[in-house]
Amino acid sequence: MSARPAEAAPPIRTRGIVRENRPEGSYWRLTLSVADFTRFAPGQFVMLSPGAELAAPRTDPLLPRPMAVYRARAAEGAGCEVEVLYKVTGRGTALLSSARPPEAVAVVGPLGRGFPLPPPGTRGLVVGGGTGIASLYELAARASARGDVRVLLGARSARDLEIARDFAALPLRLRLATEDGSRGRTGLVTELLAEELATSDPLLVYACGPTPMMRRAAEMAAAAGQGCLVSLENPMACGFGVCLGCAAPLREGGFALVCRDGPVFEAARVEWENLA
């Protein structure tokens, strides 16, 4: 496997003005306009304040939340519009869902090393589930503009896959699976992956989602002799390599920092057992 994660653009700290923030199936879609951002690599992330910054600072919740850049486009004038797709899973994301235009959210980014595009002649096999789907759209969009891409998305039920419509609008093959059968194949996304791996074409698997799903995808890709990249979601305090809080254990020994060395890693390097 030769793909090397893309280099990161230098991060800055700035404010994102909430343009839109609304529920979409089981996700929320937050659109921020950020005056001084320019470019992101697919799979890069930002650290967002846990909720809008109102008329006075609060210290609870304290830490910023890592969120993938779902989609970014140059805004009219300068800067860009950044879309974040998130699930409300705790206090920080719940407070984020209370943010309304034109409140401001503190943003640090772009951070981390994102996904490299598939090398020429290699098919990209993008496998997503849960909040992991948010890390994959920009990759799917850019890769499908250049070459052959298939996207496999899995979820509990149809409500979790309303978001698939964005992927459906791209020039790629999209396959869905839900556990309750309410949309696409009944079952796990890894069952779709098994079918896609039954080929001798060169593939590069990109997986992002719940740890068991990524781990299984990694094992299947390895068994099929195909490359696999995963994007890890570890708790983070800083997002830029100074707190050492996000360390992921490596099979070669020692740790990598998910925020600085990742979040994208070659799956074969990850020591899944102790990932937390």
Binding site: L62, A106, P235, A237, V242
Partner: protein
């Protein structure tokens, strides 16, 4: 409160001297929260700071604890990183040269045995880029087979004595807050020749996931930092500054210039910014500017005149 006439901020002398370490302003960044400094280059010109304190360094590189290493608490966070660091050699060869020569660097030093502390200091003695040492005597989360160095007066005394022999550069001792009497620990360090004190390190703490019924940290216990601990840290700085004559560097939950000034008023000569760097990587610079502005507004021509200027009411 004696009223003074406001000054222009550029007329304020922000310099302080921390036990022999000359600082252009009283704001340093705290060990373990600022990496080796270079990581902040995109956000902040480090020359705006009084200085930086390195991640605690050991003789050999150390890998840290298994995850989860961090967790969020009310206005605070827990960490049990496990003192992961590149080791003193890599620090000298890779990290120090990457910093602008005008950045004041204090090396934080740690070891599982007293001699190791001394070895790290000895290795750094000849390094002109190292302005001084900060002895990390308090690490509640490393299983060193017992209690912290900084929790027993006799152990702490021996540690400072051992390190003092190896260290000619200015020597700060960073105290653990997990003690009955911070004043006693401060006096012990002063007695053994420390040039200054840094306080506080993290408060030993624990948090739990009620769904899984497991501790949030793999290490079970961790260190609490952030705004939550600020009032405890202020109290300890106040008590320590009344117990000793050597200067104190105040640490604990500093997020704003106001917070930093509270520490100065309680007797700290300088301060360190820790957890706040995660929320806002430019914050230490903003605090340095804010202290100058505050001093000017209150008519203090020297920031050093704010040190210990708390007015305690008669009862």
């Amino acid at each position: 409160m004696s009223a003074r006439a406001p000054l222009a901020p550029d007329r304020v002398d922000a310099r302080v001297n921390l036990g022999g370490i000359a600082l252009r302003n009283p704001v340093l960044t705290a060990s373990g929260t600022f990496g080796y400094g270079t990581e902040f280059a995109p956000f902040l010109d480090l020359r705006r700071l009084g200085g930086i304190v390195s991640k605690s360094l050991t003789v050999a590189p150390r890998t840290g604890n298994l995850p989860a290493r961090i967790a969020e608490t009310a206005s605070g966070m827990l960490n049990a990183i496990g003192l992961e660091n590149v080791g003193v050699e890599a620090f000298v060869r890779e990290k120090l040269p990457a910093l602008h020569p005008d950045v004041v660097v204090v090396a934080s030093v740690f070891g599982t045995e007293m001699e190791h502390y001394a070895q790290v200091c000895a290795r750094l003695e000849g390094e002109p880029r190292v302005a001084g040492f900060e002895i990390n005597a308090s690490c509640p989360h490393v299983k060193s087979g017992g209690i912290e160095f900084g929790q027993r007066a006799d152990v702490l005394a021996e540690l400072v004595r051992t390190v003092r022999r190896a260290a000619r550069k200015p020597l700060l001792v960073k105290l653990s807050p997990n003690v009955t009497s911070i004043a006693e620990m401060a006096r012990v360090c002063e007695g053994e020749g420390a040039d200054g004190l840094s306080l506080v390190n993290t408060l030993q703490a624990l948090d739990v996931d009620v769904e899984t019924r497991r501790p949030l940290l793999r290490n079970v216990l961790g260190g609490l930092s952030g705004p939550a601990i600020r009032p405890v840290a202020l109290r300890m700085v106040f008590q320590a500054s009344h117990a000793v004559k050597i200067p104190i560097c105040g640490i604990g939950g500093i997020e704003t210039a106001e917070d930093a000034i509270k520490f100065l008023l309680c007797g700290a000569t300088a301060v360190q910014v820790g957890t706040a760097n995660y929320r806002n990587p430019a914050v230490a610079g903003e605090i340095a500017d804010g202290i100058r502005a505050h001093a000017a507004r209150h008519g203090f021509a020297r920031v050093a005149d704010l040190v210990g200027a708390l007015e305690v009411p008669g009862v």
